[in-house]
């Protein structure tokens, strides 16, 4: 029933008035409204300047003098991994640990948005607390739990942070503080839990963008680079890596671009490479740890905006992405099953997928919950409550148990 949209759009377009002096304006740079036109001009100029400034060449890593600590800390031992299914379908946000197979919701965040256009949109983090079996509200700028759920990295600061804490999750004791010269906006553990990756920014990246009110800085490139941190020794090395450019007319087809201010980096599954996010497909562009361009290790993973592996633990089945229904395929591409999921997030085990399921007949895709479903879609376990709309929405982060 596309008639309403087609007719509605065509009729609405009839209301446009065509100014008589468009050619003059274009030829002479005449301005309808100086402020507005300047803003557009400024945006174009920024994009052009970006082309000139963004040189994706490597810069030598600089050891951070502020982070020269030599004493190694001893990590708490990684506990044996549990694989049971734990749900909290009563509380919104959850009060009890949510977990399924090899993954657990180790933390979640909510957004705290300012009132005005351009105000920061900050995250409020709740962190898994093994003492209570639930989640603890925190004031950290960012948290990331290491695989094993025994250790967390916490970022201290107001939005951006210059101090990273290494916290024993069980005792809640910060084992070490690592000072950073450049402010960081995100933290992520390497898959083996031995190193930390912190993306650095010149200003806090997330801002309120009201509909129809273009903020002049909404696409300002603010990423400065990343730290590779060895939390055991406290050694932190900074590498410069400016934001990926936005698209511009005349770009060759398929050139990746990203207009977002937040462009957090991630790890490849083996921890040998890093990736930067794009707004295009593939969703990830890979780099060596030094920041040199690298081949994507696996197309399916590069195409996914999620960081969890797309292949099942036994390597026989592949998640294919978002949908409704979503599909799982075999190595030969044959469809092995369909699931009523909006998004496939990760493999709980070889037979079950964690993802975002929608409520009843899915008349509203924003009414969704975290679920675990069998590959054939027949067995669905609700892991969390259903969330509707954006008001108070919490965003779970999955970590290997």
């Amino acid at each position: 029933m596309t008639d309403l949209l087609r007719e509605g759009l065509a009729e609405w377009a009839d209301e446009a008035r065509t100014p008589h002096d468009l050619a003059d304006r274009a030829l002479r740079g005449r301005r309808r409204k100086p402020g507005r036109w300047l803003a557009v001009g400024a945006a174009v100029a920024t994009a052009a300047a970006l082309v000139a400034v963004f040189v994706p060449e490597r810069e030598p890593a600089t050891p951070d003098p502020a982070a020269s600590v030599t004493v190694e800390v001893t990590y708490p031992p990684r506990p044996a991994a549990e694989t049971d299914v734990r749900t909290d379908t009563e509380n919104n946000p959850p009060k009890k640990l949510i977990a399924a197979g090899q993954y657990a919701v180790s933390a979640y965040f909510t957004y705290q948005a300012g009132e005005s256009n351009g105000d920061p949109v900050k995250r409020r983090w709740s962190l898994y607390d093994p003492r209570s079996g639930g989640y603890e509200d925190t004031g950290w700028a960012w948290v990331d739990v290491a695989p094993g759920l025994h250790l967390a990295a916490v970022l201290e600061g107001d939005g951006l942070g210059r101090r990273v804490g290494l916290m024993d999750l069980t005792t809640r004791e910060v084992l070490r503080w690592i000072d950073l010269e450049q402010p960081a906006g995100s933290l992520v553990w390497s898959p083996d839990g031995s190193r930390l990756l912190a993306t650095t920014y010149s200003e806090y990246p997330d801002m309120v963008q009201k509909d129809g009110e273009q903020h002049p800085d909404v696409h300002k490139p603010v990423r400065t680079g990343y730290y590779l941190i060895d939390p055991a020794t406290g050694n932190a090395e900074h590498h410069a890596l400016p934001s990926m450019e936005d698209s511009k007319f005349g770009d060759p087809e398929g050139k990746p671009f990203n207009m977002n201010r937040r462009q957090d980096l991630g790890w490849s599954h083996d921890g040998a490479l890093l990736w930067m996010p794009t707004a295009t497909q593939p969703a990830k562009v890979y780099l060596t740890l030094d920041g040199a361009p690298a081949e994507a290790p696996d197309k399916a993973t590069a195409d996914s905006y999620r960081s969890e592996p797309r292949w099942s633990p036994d390597g026989t089945k592949l998640l294919t992405g978002d949908g409704l229904p979503t599909k799982v395929v075999g190595r030969d591409g044959a469809v092995l099953g369909e699931q009523r999921l909006l998004q496939q997030w990760a493999w709980a085990d070889d037979e079950n997928v964690i993802g975002l399921g929608c409520y009843r007949k899915c008349s509203n895709e924003f009414h969704s919950s975290l679920v675990m479903t069998s590959v054939d879609g027949k067995k669905v376990t609700e892991l969390s409550t259903y969330q509707k709309g954006d008001e108070g929405r919490w965003y779970p982060v999955l970590t290997r148990r």
């Binding site: 409204k33 671009f257 996010p277 497909q281 954006d390």
Partner: protein, 169 residues
Amino acid sequence: MDAAQERGFREFVSTRSPALMRLGYLLAGGDQHAAEDLLQAALAKLAAKWARVDSPEAYVRQIMYRQQVSWWRTAGRRGEVVQAEPPERAQEGPAHRSELRMVLRAALSKLTPRQRTVLVLRYFEDLTDQQVARELGVSVGTVRSTAHRSLARLREIAPELAKELETVA
């Protein structure tokens, strides 16, 4: 640009600007001033390249589409979209088609530029998903998922449209 080229450019603008303004008006969500800015910026780029552009209209349209793309709202990673404002509910009850269209306009103007652009390209410009993907420089999957989300968002903003839009792919 010499005098003959300028005549050609002016003729192009005078012939094609009504159609281009219609497009700009929809992309801008019914904001006349924003639509003028959008078209004016695109025409200025065209003027600078007039002698070298084979298909001026396709060039201007693509600039307009992509200008909207570059204004896409910042989204966080991990798939979430920052929504600072809760959706407003339209009034319930309009039964007539013309009223539905007014509701549709109000809802379309509340979409993000990215969501609106994909719907305008699909249902006003009548482009296929493959053509939309090429024009915007994104994947077909991104076009489809954006279209799906845009329609879901329309239904959420204006529940009275849900029935009319429920079978739209």
